[in-house]
Amino acid sequence: MATRTQSLEAPADLQHKPTSLWRDALGRLVKNRLAVVGGIIVVILVFLAVFGPFLTPWNYAAQDLKSVAANHNAPVPPLKFGHLFGTDNLGHDLFSRLLDGTRISMTVALVVQVVVLFIGIPIGAAAGWFGGRIDNLLMRFTDVVYAFPDLLFVILLSVSLKDTWFGNAMDGLLLVFVAIGVVAWVTMARIVRGQILSLKETEYVEAARAIGVSDFKIVTRHMLPNAIGPVIVAVTLGIPAAILTEAVLGFLGIGANPPRASWGTLINTGSQWMSSTPHLLVFPALAIAIALLSFTFLGDGLRDALDPKLRGKQ
């Protein structure tokens, strides 16, 4: 028998368990298997980056020339003489160097994104909020930056400053951070600007203004939290780009200084031994492929999860 309350329930399409945007998004994200796998691998990579040196008996710069000699003066293959992934022709343990490369890549990812956040967000927000001259300035500036192909600029900057103290600071990594970061913040600024612009017209911003809330508070407390979605996605998708750029720099010899082992440098060295000892090329290639893939899948998953058009849907 039909009860009154049952029939009074809202129809299926109006029913909505009250959830916040985040819980909604998290729910969707978790259902995306690729994204979850990507996320797990990202966590593992970070772990490896942080605890790398403790996971291996070899230092990345150490040279086990004894084993190389014992191996007919050729690079040691994997699982021989205590080298998990083998060594190169100078006795460097590949596994340790891969860990160092992971550390470099993760550091680049982190630092560049920090730069992007701390420079890109304020500038983008300012441009979007104040409009007028400031906005114009930013837009012209970003146009120019877009005109200069990223990689060319990064290479130019790196070559130019490579032989200075700045270029050699932190094993050459400081220059890498700056070179990549200088170009990367621009995209973030544009995204934030766009978000602020569209949020500027909303009613709750009008209301806040009417009450007399200060501009700064409006932007930081009311608008930015709403803009966070695209920001998160941009950060997550910007990381593989940064890692890739760093690898290219390493490959070209203008990245991290030896004996630091950027994945790019490893690939460069590995390519020279390609026909005889492919493991020197294959393992670094795998490493970079895994890193790029997992961040990309995670970023894709975040983008889909935070897509406002999918709000409330399963």
């Binding site: 028998m1 039909a2 029939s7 329930e9 129809p11 399409d13 109006l14």
Partner: protein, 372 residues
């Protein structure tokens, strides 16, 4: 003498007059005229007979019974209104008629749709496709998004004519120009090469009407054709639909939530609620002698000129029911002011009131019921 498909269409199109293209003086013309006369006598049949149509949506939350055992008929050239609030199933009914229900998750699970003597449910997808556009035209609600922004309107109109009527490009374009003129777009020939974004909302809806009528269909489905338009334009568009359907003899199913529109346009009205038809009658009967509390509620909620100023607008309390597991009870019971126990225990059937073609679904208004 057998009636060809074209003849049947022509017959359906204008029972009262021959199409302009036919010249009676010729042998051919005389033959066609004779066929028409015969055809009139064959018109005991209806253009559309829908029997026990049920369409459901299979979602994660359950099976939504969007259209539940709906039956109705439509005569050649008649205008029928499908009236009801949002979510009552009227749009889904129209989509079901042309089998355009999005197929996951929707599905027509039961029923027959007999159109011009053919059961559409038995046609293959390809046969159905050939009918669409040619015999059944569709006007959608939002003219802003229903037209393809990257094709000229001339192309979009002529496309139907080319495909279904086998016209050459030039002939199809000519026909498109003619149609544009008929729907009231000035300087039609010049505007053939324009894109939808270059037209206003009302004009775009006129273009949609031209597209729907391009192949002179027997039936026009108009899903809330004026809801997205300015009030001032609404009347023009409705007038246009009415005059064109009269001119071409096209039957129209007009879907709307606005009773006023139904009153002005339709010969008959089906009132829908929660996936069911709850009342059906010719337009005068529905408005003068409604026999179902929901219909009264709808009428009542229309603001009237002779009311006191400042009086509150009347609404029907409550919300439409959950279509996922409809109970065996009158679906309107929770909101009905005349409700009694029997309403909550068994669902009433559609039974006649006053005349054989005025049906309502309500225990209370049946003969012997408690509502007078």
């Amino acid at each position: 003498m057998t009636l060809t498909d074209d003849d049947r269409q022509t017959a359906g199109a204008a029972v009262t007059e021959l199409p302009d293209s036919v010249d009676i003086v010729t042998e051919e013309g005389r033959r066609l005229a004779q066929q028409l006369v015969d055809a009139r006598e064959h018109h005991a049949r209806k253009l559309l007979e829908v029997r026990n149509l049920s369409t459901q949506f299979f979602t994660k939350e359950g099976v939504v019974h969007a259209v539940d055992d709906v039956s109705f008929e439509l005569d050649y050239g008649e205008t029928l209104g499908l009236v009801g609030e949002s979510g009552c199933g009227k749009s889904v009914t129209a989509l079901s008629l042309t089998r355009l229900v999005p197929s996951p998750p929707g599905k027509i699970v039961a029923g027959e749709i007999i159109f011009d003597g053919i059961d559409l449910m038995r046609l293959s997808k390809e046969e159905m496709r050939l009918l669409r556009g040619k015999k059944i035209g569709f006007i959608f609600q939002d003219p802003m998004t229903s037209l393809n922004p990257t094709l000229t309107i001339g192309y979009q109109i002529a496309e139907s004519a080319r495909i279904h009527m086998g016209l050459s490009r030039r002939a199809a374009d000519d026909r498109a120009v003619e149609l544009l003129g008929k729907v009231g777009i000035p300087r039609a020939r010049e505007r053939m090469g324009d894109y939808p974004h270059q037209f206003s909302g009302g004009m775009r809806q006129r273009v949609m009407i031209a597209i729907a009528l391009a192949c002179d269909p027997m039936l026009l489905l108009a899903d809330e054709p004026t809801t997205a338009l300015d009030v001032t334009i609404q009347a023009q568009i409705l007038d246009l639909i009415r005059s064109l359907s009269e001119e071409f003899g096209t039957a129209v199913i007009l879907i709307t939530h606005d009773l006023g529109i139904a009153a002005g346009m339709c010969n008959r009205v089906n009132v829908m609620y929660a996936g069911r038809i709850v009342e059906t009658a010719n337009v005068d009967d529905v408005f003068e002698r409604p026999r179902m509390p929901y219909t009264w509620g709808l009428m009542d909620s229309l603001p009237r000129l002779d009311e006191e100023r400042g009086a509150r607008l009347r609404t029907i309390e409550g919300m439409p029911p959950d279509l996922v597991s409809p109970p065996d009870a009158c679906r309107f019971a929770p909101r009905c002011t005349y409700v009694r126990d029997v309403c909550r225990e068994h669902e009433p059937a559609l039974t006649a009131r006053d005349t054989a073609d005025h049906l309502a679904r309500c225990w209370g208004t049946e003969s012997g019921g408690w509502i007078k």
